[in-house]
């Protein structure tokens, strides 16, 4: 009998598909995209081939083929047999065509030169005719777009017939407008100063928020509410849960109201003669204070809940006995309560480290990394690189490489944290066997 197996597979498949498609595939694709130079300008699907000024520059600098680039750029206007035939069809005066035949083989680098020569013909073609004629002799491949390599090579061959295979490959590579595979993202990450800055910012952010609020203040909340009458304890726990249940956008708005230059702090301190200003963004230090406060007020509630429930598990007689023995409140906290919190503290530390390292929504909404990038943490820098910035050129490939760093750290830390908290019985065998 394997009905349990069949039913199991049937019931788990939909969840497995959704998780794989939108969770595991993105993990893999982050790694894949990290090795591309995808950006707004290359697009994310395929590309075309175009001999643009950039492509010529690349041929000169990168492939060391200045002569090829030179000739490609000079492929301009040429008086030739196919052009003359087309002129006849286009209804140009036969006398002009005959006269042009005398110039066969002449080339011009630019449209201006070609048109000057045509204007100076003895038959004096009209302005409209000059345009028509020059169009027919246009052999330039500069800036034209080709959909395939073959079309590009055919066009190149029409102006430069004798190119080597290596030169063909160089032209193809240099003129491609789509994205390509590259390891340049990681070289760039290692070399630019912004990397180090976001790393330091991230460490400051995680260290301060974690120790001061997610652990420190959460413990204060849990222990003080533990000693309070239950009504007061419920009120304070409720108040400190508000930041967690409020959506981030509205929660950060409240902080902006507090810190804005017409906000509460400015008005209140104005009574004491202190200039009104935007307290959140007027200096890097202030911005950090607010970033840590904003994240810390949310983070404290998780520790508070977990520590509180751990404290509820302390046998009451133990506390009464310690009081009868004359223990002070501090002794009680240090010798009875703290040992009880050892595992919860480890758990919250692991959990919050991971979530602080990667979360950026509250910073995005409050300081947006400012002033001048002083609160730009790694995750926010990733967002700014790949998804939203003022310049408008979104670098998906580089952003994916930055995200990959976080993904690797995330996988590593979550595996480590599971080893730490892996209870064997969670994976116990089912009791009904079929």
């Amino acid at each position: 009998m394997n009905s349990s197996k069949k039913l199991g597979l049937l019931l788990i498949t939909p969840a497995a598909i959704v998780v794989v498609m939108l969770f595991l595939v993105p993990v893999v694709l982050t790694a894949v995209f990290a090795f591309t130079n995808m950006s707004t300008s290359t697009g994310i699907s395929g590309g075309a081939y175009q001999i643009s000024p950039n492509a010529l520059q690349e041929l000169r600098d990168h492939y060391d083929m200045p002569s090829v680039a030179e000739r490609l750029s000079q492929s301009g206007f040429a008086v030739d047999e196919p052009g003359l035939a087309a002129l006849g069809k286009a209804g140009i005066d036969a006398d002009i065509v005959t006269e042009l035949r005398g110039h066969i083989g002449e080339t011009f680098a630019a449209r201006r030169d070609a048109e000057r020569a045509i204007r100076n013909l003895n038959h004096r073609p009209s302005l409209r005719e000059v345009k028509q004629i020059s169009d027919q002799f246009n052999r330039s491949i500069m800036n034209a777009r080709y959909d395939s390599k073959a079309a590009l090579l055919a066009a190149v061959a029409s102006v430069m017939p004798n190119l080597s295979g290596a030169e063909h490959q160089a032209i193809i590579a240099a003129s491609y407008t789509g994205w390509t595979w590259t390891t340049g993202n990681f070289r760039r990450m290692a070399s630019i100063p912004g990397t180090q800055r976001s790393l330091v910012n991230t460490m400051v952010y995680v260290a301060f928020t974690l120790t001061l609020f997610n652990i420190g203040f959460a413990m204060v909340l849990a222990i003080t509410t533990f000693y309070m009458p239950s009504r007061a304890a419920g009120f304070f726990r409720g108040v400190w849960l508000l930041p967690r249940i409020s959506p981030p956008v509205i929660y950060v708005l409240l902080w902006k109201w507090l810190a804005w230059d017409t906000g509460f702090l400015s008005v209140f301190l104005g009574r004491f003669g202190i200039h009104s200003r935007n307290w959140m963004l007027d200096s890097g230090t202030n911005a950090w204070v607010f970033v840590v406060l904003i994240n810390g007020f949310v983070g404290a509630s998780m520790g508070m809940l977990i520590f509180s429930s751990a404290l509820q598990a302390i046998p009451r007689p133990l506390l009464y006995a310690s009081e009868v023995d004359g223990a002070s409140r501090w002794q009680q906290i240090w010798h009875i309560i703290m040992p009880q919190l050892r595992w919860p503290i480890l758990f919250v530390t692991c959990y919050q480290t991971l979530s602080l390292l990667t979360s950026f929504d509250l910073i995005l909404l409050s300081t947006n990394g400012g002033p001048g990038g002083s609160t730009e943490v790694w995750a926010l820098a990733t967002y700014h690189t790949a998804l939203n910035n003022y310049a408008g050129n979104l670098e998906y490939g580089y952003g994916a490489a930055m995200a990959l760093v976080l993904v690797v750290v995330g996988v590593f830390l979550s595996l480590a944290y599971l080893r730490l908290f892996n209870y064997r019985d969670l994976v116990a065998k089912p009791l009904i066997e079929h």
């Binding site: 019931l11 993105p26 993990v27 009464y320 790949a386 599971l418």
Partner: protein
């Protein structure tokens, strides 16, 4: 509790520390229905004009009811997907003998701990490629998928507490495993279903980054993106308007939380992201 300690110094200290938070939320409510002169902290009149956005759309912004409807659809649909798929998958992982069960379990555990927001770049590109960018369907699927490991994990935990005897009895009486699940086990975990459904709904209602990145268009805008756009617009600075929209946005959350606090605490206490 303890009789020889006085509580009031602690209450006083905590009141002072909590004051900024209380102040922020009190002023959030007060400022939406009053006017305050610049440079003052005391309102001088009662007014409802900050709420006109309910019937006249803010210039250049979509209709608030349309946005609210989008938010409702987004939160409800992602919550429904999370609920239905994790109630089945959680049961399988808790009770059924499927191949690779340990592998699935380990995978769910890792994904549950894994910070999903790091995947946003890849997800953005995937949605662009498959044409689900700027659509509610796309962002609903993504939200549901990212919440799923947590949902499966929670449901598995609740199924684990259901006594095996109930199922054994059902099997003895000749019911199939599916019927046992549907008729006997599922009713046992109804509180868990309620809690997870609400949690997923609230998480969808509050979500900002995903819709902001994956569906920013006016047609499919949700309240968080709408409000963030309003605040970010330097040309129309109106704190009272922001707060009124904010209250409109946050009231359902607070109400649901007050009514279902006990159920939700099961999940919030268990260590979710944040």
């Amino acid at each position: 509790m303890t009789s020889n300690f006085r509580a009031w110094p602690v209450v006083l200290a905590l009141s002072i520390v909590s004051a900024p938070l209380v102040l922020m939320y009190v002023y959030l409510l007060v400022d939406t229905v009053t006017s305050t002169a610049p440079g003052s902290l005391i309102p001088y009149e009662f007014t409802l004009r900050h709420w006109t956005f309910l019937w006249t759309p803010v210039p250049g912004r979509p209709d608030i009811w349309r946005v609210a409807l989008n938010t409702l659809v987004f939160a409800t649909a992602s919550s429904a997907i999370v609920l239905s798929l994790s109630s089945t998958a959680g049961y399988v992982l808790s009770r059924l003998n499927v191949p690779f069960r340990r592998f699935f379990l380990a995978g769910v555990m890792v994904l549950h701990a894994f910070p999903s927001v790091t995947l946003i770049v890849a997800i953005f590109l995937v949605l662009q490629m498959v044409g689900l960018y700027n659509s509610l369907a796309g962002v609903i699927l993504v939200k549901a998928a990212l919440d799923m490991p947590l949902g499966i994990w929670i449901m598995k935990g609740f199924y684990d507490t259901v006594p095996w005897e109930i199922e054994m009895a059902g099997i003895q009486d000749g019911a199939s495993r599916f019927t046992v699940w549907r008729r006997l086990v599922l009713p046992q975990v109804r509180p868990a279903l309620l809690a997870l459904g609400l949690f997923a709904f609230l998480s969808g209602w509050s979500e900002f980054i995903l819709p902001q990145v994956l569906a920013p268009d006016n047609r499919v805008q949700v309240l968080s993106v709408y409000l963030a756009g309003l605040i970010a617009d330097d040309n129309n600075f109106d704190m009272a308007l922001f707060k009124s929209v904010g209250v409109f946005y946050v009231v359902p959350v607070i109400l649901l939380f007050l009514f279902f606090q006990k159920h939700l605490m099961n999940i919030y206490g268990g260590g979710t992201k944040g």
